[in-house]
Symmetry: C2
Subunit: 310 residues, 2 copies
């Protein structure tokens, strides 16, 4: 590190700036609430450290030399930037400034996650929010490598260094081809779907949404007639639209409107699907805390009664 700065301190800049602006040592001393001799000494010292005469001492005060005018400009700038640095640091300490990398995946990107992000960006406009489309394994890896601050996911996997929080319990819906016989019912049950041709997703990561849905059938000793496995909810609904069969989607996915697709709610007490937030167990950054708080405010709390249905 080059050390041409020597022993120059902000005090020198503050004192010189005051003297230069007041065009007087005495007047500057009053403004700074110090006596005049320290000003003389500090400015002399500054000039010696710089090797440059900054002020022309005259009977009625002082005048700036050309170099003094340049240095005044620089000093003002430095002092202003130092204050900004202070502000930014304090904002960062309060989580109001920085960068938040959020992992997202699955149908929650259609409703729940955008609502959280939107609210957070409004509350913390100077935080840069970056979304990363990553599946569960990718989120876990990225969290460990500090490329991610927080991830949204559907499924709960115990890891020693990570924390899962259930932030939302969404109801389920059946996506039906228009004209399907079940569209006559306003609400459906799992039993209604027994033997129906079904499209399921996602193929990976396992276990995932698909396993929870199939679990609903097994628990009731019913059989799910899987006609197609696909990667994601969009493809699944697209196949429904083409008449392949029906599929089951979360409330968030209701925003996904395709022609020829009709949604019917499943009875809420039949099943709920969790939305989880993953984070590092040792991450206590104010930014993350702020984000969690916003998420809790925006998303309705998951009813504990149904939490057992996981």
């Amino acid at each position: 590190m080059s050390n041409r700065l020597g022993a120059i301190e902000f005090r020198h800049l503050r004192y010189f700036t005051a003297v230069a602006e007041a065009r007087s040592f005495r007047a500057a001393a009053q403004q700074l609430h110090v006596s005049q001799p320290p000003l003389t000494r500090q400015v002399q010292q500054l000039e010696e450290l710089l090797g440059v005469v900054l002020l022309e001492r005259q009977p009625r005060g002082v005048e700036l030399t050309a170099a003094g005018a340049v240095f005044l400009d620089e000093a003002r700038n430095l002092l202003a930037l130092a204050e900004q640095a202070l502000d930014r640091t304090q904002m960062a300490a309060q989580g109001q400034l920085g960068r938040l990398d959020v992992g997202v995946f699955g149908s929650a990107v259609f409703d729940a996650i955008p609502r959280v992000i939107q609210a957070f960006r409004t509350a913390y406009p100077k935080v840069e929010v970056v979304l990363h489309n990553l599946d569960r394994a990718g989120q876990i890896k990225a969290l460990r490598e500090r490329r991610l601050t927080v991830g949204f996911n559907r499924f709960f996997v115990e890891e020693p260094d990570l924390v899962w929080d259930v932030v939302l319990a969404e109801a389920l819906n059946v996506a039906l081809p228009a004209g399907h016989r079940l569209t006559d019912h306003a609400r459906l049950t799992i039993a209604d779907l027994s033997g129906e041709a079904m499209v399921v997703y996602p193929r990976s990561p396992r276990p995932g949404f698909i396993d929870q849905v199939l679990g609903l059938f097994h628990r009731r000793h019913l059989t799910a007639q899987v006609v197609q496995e696909v990667d994601d909810v969009v493809t699944a609904v697209a196949l429904v639209s083409s008449g392949f069969g029906l599929t089951i989607v979360s409330d968030s996915a209701l925003n996904l409107r395709l022609p020829g697709v009709v949604y019917r709610p499943l009875e809420r007490n039949e099943a709920l699907i969790d939305l989880c937030m993953i984070r590092r167990i040792d991450d206590d950054s104010p930014l993350l805390r702020a984000f969690i708080e916003v998420a809790r405010e925006v998303l309705p709390p998951p009813p504990e009664a149904h939490a057992a249905a996981r």
Copy 2:
């Protein structure tokens, strides 16, 4: 002036930066050639002044908090800018940085002045040179009001607060319409021009070039036949081109080539015309000194023998 900076000093930034970069108090202490306790103390004090924890002390060294990372960035930036401020100030003290306002007027703008400016801009590339077209009175006024650092002029007028320097003695030439009988001569004398129709310039400021030229005639008890007074040398030569008569121009104006105009030199011992530089007597700025030096280097020194011919 807001004083949120408090007692923060560059020392705090230097120490914190070193610790943050080394991720260790002890390693930073070695690099800084101080012992470890002062680092601990300065960083603690910095954190207290900021009201923000910047480092997480850990058994194997330190980690940056989010706010600490932000502040490290800001501190590095401030230190770099401070060094730049130093550089710029020292450059300004040596006349290598700043702004130079130069007043120019008359035929010297066609040769002598551009040569000086060009040389100066090469030698001092970071100095902004601004040219102002001002006549002598305008230059004097602008110099007094500090809008001008230096002015180039033809005529010497004593002023208590200004200094004139003769920087160049140029020979004179006669501009003739093509086909004029005097074009037969390779060189001319003042006597050759007696009774010839002449265009003279400038109308103002007086006294000026015109008066010196006419003085050459009076001194020899000759008569100048003035057929037209115009504002400047360009107009004068344009009229010569139209056959109005002849006019007398300095060497610099030889660059002014118009169709139908032929130049013939006047004998050097007949007359020389000075180019003067005006400046404030109390201006000892390094920039001006540097400019004067360059001007002296570029322009051939005026022969003292002819100086009396003014």
